[in-house]
Amino acid sequence: MRKLFAFMVTTLDGYYEGQNQEFDWPNVDDAFLDFSVNQLREVGVLLFGRVTYEGMAAYWPSDDARKNAPEVADLMNSIPKLVFSTTLTEARWQNTTLVTDDVEATVSSLKDKPGGDLAVFGSSRLTVGLIGHGLVDELRVMVNPVLLGVGHSLLSGLAGCVRLELLRATTYRSGNVLLCYHPDQP
């Protein structure tokens, strides 16, 4: 049985994006890129909700991405990906499969297969659903040293309180703090 981790980048006030989808605040330095590469090397399949998928599919194959973060771009493009959506009709980013079936059944059977970790990047609504089904083994939150005041909360829509066990806290020179937790099963 392989592990599923959810990775989110947030502000100190718990937002993954601003009120108008602002995402210009994350600290991206060499340490963050190193972290991203190491994290991706553990991943067998990347899972996305539609909104995050569309943003990433537009960015990672671009010349900009290949120039600014070549190693991350290589991994993001080459790792097998699933996007869960009932509205998309195709998924054109390389190595991506569109899944319109039941999320819980698809992810449960994927977890039973051998291979690298399953990872959800961003995709707040997908993460909320997976936590609700007890399918998330680790929640990784990269807290950036900034307050926005308003924005979209990292796990809004959760059915109720979910208790966590702290696994580790890592501090970066940029002021980012990576907090890793194991969610208690609902």
Binding site: D13, V143, P145, G149, L154, S156, C161, G175, V177
Partner: protein, 196 residues
């Protein structure tokens, strides 16, 4: 000039209360015992003060008793905090509260009184909360340091600590320290605060 430290308890998703005002997820209201030695005055908003006074004075009255608010007896850290608070001046910002009964507390009517307090000499000021007061003081660049005790849970919805912060504030991380019971204390300097 006194330093102002806002030290509060939050969930991982940045809430200080559940959607119905739930606070039962805070297992120990005094997880940051180092703070008491750094400060000589507390500042609170009028909304939270009555509950704060009730909580800490009931511990002073009966340190072994079961607290109505939490359904358990106080921890040793909470008993220590209650006796410290009983000796430390508390300034309550409120336009409606009358004079509180706790001997260490006094009410002020405007944020200018808080600004004047900060202009004085001495140890730091502990901004206890609540969310409205913290946001007001951040918006006025009066907070020098944020110390958030992040509790190990997510609520999905609730009352955001920084909901009334009106613009983006870049912070500088001072330290992130894991504590007992899966807590993490995140400590930041605000840009309004003094550089070191």
């Amino acid at each position: 000039m006194k330093k102002m430290i806002a030290a509060l308890h939050v969930t991982l998703d940045g809430f200080i209360e559940g959607p119905k005002g739930e606070l039962d997820w805070v297992q120990n209201w005094n997880s940051d015992s180092e703070l008491a030695s750094e400060v000589d005055t507390c500042v609170l908003g009028g909304g939270m003060y009555p509950g704060y006074e009730q909580y800490w004075t009931s511990i002073l009255a009966d340190p072994a008793g079961v607290l109505e608010f939490t359904g358990r007896p106080p921890t040793q850290g909470e008993i220590d905090y209650a006796s410290w608070a009983d000796q430390t001046p508390h300034v309550v910002l409120s336009t409606t509260l009358t004079q509180p009964t706790w001997k260490t507390a006094r009410v002020v009517r405007g944020v200018e009184d808080v600004r004047a307090l900060k202009a004085g000499a001495g140890k730091a000021i502990f901004v206890v909360g609540g969310a409205g007061l913290v946001s007001t003081l951040i918006n006025l660049d009066l907070i020098d340091e944020l110390r958030l005790t992040v509790h190990p849970l997510v609520l999905g919805r609730g009352k955001p600590l920084f909901k009334d912060v009106t613009e983006r504030h870049q912070l500088q991380l001072i330290a992130a320290e894991p504590k007992d019971s899966d807590l993490v204390v995140l400590n930041y300097r605000t840009q309004g605060g003094p550089a070191e």
